[in-house]
């Protein structure tokens, strides 16, 4: 294992110190491992808390700031944070209008956030609502699994719902919007390589040079199937076709994210975006907005994911609303 770390045990604590040093707009609670906005939002506005295992940066901490999250709870690499972290964050960011928990659909994350919501409601009478993001079309048999995983759509949802909360919408309105976004977006990912969790010291799985894994999650877990490596245009088809087969996008405009898994250079991500845009155009789907880059990663994994979100005028205008976070920044 070759990594820029001091020790596998101190990766998270050391990284949080770096985040604090790099971003004066953020405040880090090192004991609870929570990243906050340095300047809390106005009283009477809904606050957004997310979190999850680390190793997906910039998700979630990089999306804490004006127009997106109010707090992000950081777990160990690929391990859910614990309810006490989430409860501390929830109490801290509540501005009297309630708190939305944005949770990716993984068993550990869901259970820990559930306990946190119960604790926060019991102890501090904070009105907590939860949206569970489950956009991963790679999981086909959701009846006999823990359900579809929460992946790329989480980034778009945090941006859009964050903008709505910033406008002063009520908790119920914010929840309804979050559910709408979750229902209208789908993602599919692929890996060229595995990734190496610092504490494990070796790649999570072996992937021969001539093979790729299609339908991966974001934790280095195996995907839907292992297939021979293909050229980019065919890889793009294998990502986009399952998305279009799963949700009818009709003639609606879309927001499309071509996301890197952490170990793929931007030139390849742009190349892939070109292929994805070509396929969507062929299906008569217009792209109103796009995002190309590393936004929800899997440590050093090489590969990418595609997220397509149906976007009406309201969604596009919330997307365009000002945002000022380390990960996304425009319009302000």
């Amino acid at each position: 294992m070759k990594k820029l770390i001091n020790s596998p045990e101190s990766v998270l604590a050391d990284a949080l110190r770096g985040i604090e040093a790099a971003h004066p707009d953020q405040r880090v609670d090192h004991e609870n491992r929570v990243i906050y906005r340095a300047t809390p939002k106005e009283h009477g506005t809904v606050a957004l808390v997310s979190g999850g295992g680390s190793g997906h940066e910039p998700l979630h901490g990089g999306f804490v700031g004006f127009g997106m999250l109010d707090a992000a709870c950081a777990g160990e690499v690929f391990t859910s944070p614990t309810p006490d972290q989430m409860q501390a964050a929830t109490k801290e960011v509540d501005r009297g209008a309630g708190v939305l928990h944005i949770v990716k659909n993984y068993t550990g994350d869901v259970m820990n956030f559930e306990m946190a919501a119960e604790l926060a409601a019991m102890e501090a009478s904070v009105d907590v609502k939860t949206v569970v993001v489950n956009d991963d079309v790679a999981v086909q048999d959701s009846l006999y699994t823990a359900g579809r995983r929460g992946v790329g759509l989480t980034v778009l949802l945090e941006k859009i719902v964050g903008a709505a909360a910033e406008q002063g919408r009520s908790l119920d309105e914010v929840v309804a919007l979050a559910e709408k976004v979750n229902g209208d977006g789908r993602s599919m990912g692929m890996a060229l390589t595995s990734c190496t969790v610092p504490a494990a010291g070796k790649p999570t799985f072996d992937l021969p040079d001539d093979q790729m894994e299609i339908g991966i999650g974001i934790h280095g877990e195996p995907g839907r199937q292992r297939v021979p490596l293909a050229d980019a245009s065919h890889v793009a088809e294998q990502l986009v076709e399952p998305i279009l087969a799963d949700l009818d996008f009709g003639g609606a405009p879309t927001i499309v994210m071509l996301n890197g898994m952490g170990g793929t250079p931007l030139i390849e991500l742009y190349l892939m975006y070109g292929e994805v845009a070509r396929i969507l155009e062929k299906h008569g789907i217009t792209i109103a907005r796009n995002l190309v880059g590393n936004y929800i990663t899997s440590l050093d994994m090489a590969g990418c994911s595609v997220t397509v979100l149906r976007a009406d005028d309201e969604i596009v205008s919330l997307w365009d609303a000002p945002v000022e976070t380390p990960g996304l920044r425009w319009g302000r």
Partner: protein
């Protein structure tokens, strides 16, 4: 042989469980790397070490205090899915056992049943989903029926231990329907479930302490 289990007995149970998950840390993690995310052994060992530190420092005198400490410590130190599941188990166990300094067989069985119900409420698991439920539910059923037929506490807990081990072994051919293993589909068959394996250790520890 005792007909009740005291606070010292409960503490010995927890310590015996800690010993088991610590000694089998690598084994549990190996089971988890086959079908999960390779952290069950290290998470449980870290969690139970934290539990014994907290319990040693707080020296609780009643079952509800003791198991509230245990549950909250697991919830806050384990993470993943095991933290909330085992944490909820012990929190509900303590709430049902109540503010007492010892439990007889029926009281112990009732507390264990409440813990199981907490696990089900948290994890939504059913029989044969290939989870800790598959070891825990048969163990508590066996305990109940042994007590109902007049068995001693030690014999009833031994029956629970055997049922938990059988339930653990029966998870091997199952296809997981809950947790991260469920994404593997058929590839999850042929492996013991790590959660059912640690749960069998919990009942093995209880049987050892009651027999002592």
């Amino acid at each position: 042989m005792s007909t009740t289990i005291s606070i010292d007995g409960f503490t010995a149970w927890l310590d015996a469980f800690r010993t088991r998950v610590t000694e089998n840390k690598a084994y549990l993690t190996e089971l988890d790397s086959a079908i999960g995310d390779a952290d069950h052994g290290s998470n449980m060992a870290r969690g139970m070490a934290a539990v014994m530190d907290k319990v040693g420092a707080a020296a609780p005198s009643t079952a509800d205090e003791l198991f509230k400490t245990v549950g909250m410590t697991l919830v806050t130190s384990v993470g993943g899915a095991s933290g909330p599941l085992y944490g909820t188990f012990f929190l509900r166990f303590g709430m049902t056992a109540g503010s007492v300094s010892e439990c007889d067989g029926p009281a112990l069985a009732a507390a264990l049943r409440a813990g199981l119900e907490g696990v089900v409420a948290r994890g939504k698991a059913e029989a044969n989903d290939k989870t800790m439920f598959d070891a825990m539910a048969p163990a508590i059923d066996a305990l109940d029926s042994a007590l109902a037929s007049g068995a001693s506490l030690a014999d009833a807990v031994a029956a629970a231990r055997d049922a938990a081990a059988a339930g653990r072994d029966a998870t091997e051919p199952l296809v997981a329907r809950k947790g991260r293993a469920s994404y593997l589909g058929d590839r999850s068959a042929g492996h013991l479930d790590p959660g059912a394996t640690s749960t069998a250790m919990l009942f093995d520890a209880l049987a050892e302490v009651i027999a002592a």
